[in-house]
């Protein structure tokens, strides 16, 4: 039942900072339509923006005029978002080691970048990163709609006008 996306939305935008907000707003609209809570939508917005910002900053050289491809699978119980580029890939294990909260670091040791992937992993329920020609970031956020509906039923039915 939940292994086939009921809807799939795809968009391709130029890999420029100008369009990161456009992708963010689109995904926000989809998540809103699916019934995600306010805080969850905000989490999704940040995660998607981080993935797109990474593409803008790291995937392509200045001359390449690359693209960000975003795919969105809408399922009964979850939203899957894929952010794909065709730029240079990176060694995930290498990068992952330098990620993380700033625990125990002094101000001088802090890195101005590197928080993006960490935030994606913190804010989404599942994250997979792969790719040889380019990078694919696949992230999933689960809907907890069922529990909410049960609670609603138990208290009072929605008033009908």
């Amino acid at each position: 039942m939940s292994n086939k996306a009921s809807d799939f939305i795809e968009m391709t935008v130029p890999a420029k900072t100008d369009y990161v907000g456009v992708v963010r707003l689109t995904i926000s609209g989809i998540a809103n339509r699916m019934g995600f809570a306010f805080d969850e939508i905000e989490d999704i917005k940040i995660a998607v923006s981080e993935a797109c910002t990474n593409v803008v900053n790291h995937a392509y050289t200045e001359l390449e005029k690359g693209q960000i491809r975003v795919g969105c699978g809408v399922y009964d119980n979850r939203l899957e978002i894929m952010v794909v580029d065709h730029g240079k890939s990176f060694d995930y294990d290498d990068v992952n080691q330098s990620l993380g909260p700033v625990e125990g670091k002094s101000v001088e040791q802090l890195n101005e970048g590197g928080l993006g992937l960490f935030l994606i992993e913190s804010l989404m329920d599942k994250v997979e990163i792969s790719g040889e020609a380019g990078v694919i970031v696949m992230m999933t956020k689960y809907l907890h709609r069922d529990e909410v509906e049960e609670n609603v039923d138990r208290t009072s039915p929605a008033p009908t006008q």
């Binding site: 900072t17 100008d18 990161v20 907000g21 963010r24 707003l25 805080d39 905000e42 917005k45 940040i46 923006s49 981080e50 910002t53 803008v56 900053n57 909260p101 700033v102 625990e103 670091k105 002094s106 101000v107 001088e108 802090l110 890195n111 101005e112 970048g113 928080l115 993006g116 960490f118 935030l119 913190s122 804010l123």
Partner: protein
């Protein structure tokens, strides 16, 4: 999808009031305003984030950079008025430990 920055100086303290979104697109505008201030010796900067609707790691990165730069120049950088959302970002990343954050609302005597 934009960022407004108001800059005031009172008794040598620079107050930056931000409103809107801090992301990769608006970041250069914030950097352009903030970085030169942090490079002045003994400067005091207070940044108000109460009207920030959206912020991601690009914004966090700018504040980390600004903090480093002020420290190097014997200045101070304070962030205040964060919404719950923005506060959460600083908490998740552990930046609450190193940044000077004051989220008390002035005039709210409790």
């Amino acid at each position: 999808m934009n960022l407004q920055i108001r800059h005031e100086e009172t008794n040598g303290v620079h107050y930056l009031t931000l409103a809107g979104e801090v992301d990769a697109y608006t970041a250069p505008k914030l950097k352009e305003m903030l970085v030169p201030l942090t490079e002045v010796k003994n400067t005091q900067i207070v940044i108000d984030l109460a009207n920030i609707d959206y912020m991601d790691s690009t914004g966090l990165g700018i504040f980390v950079g600004a903090l480093k730069s002020t420290k190097k120049n014997d200045g101070t950088l304070k962030l205040r008025g964060m919404t719950e959302r923005v506060k959460r970002l600083f908490e998740i990343t552990g930046l609450t430990e190193v940044m000077d954050i004051d989220n008390e609302v002035k005039g709210e005597a409790r």
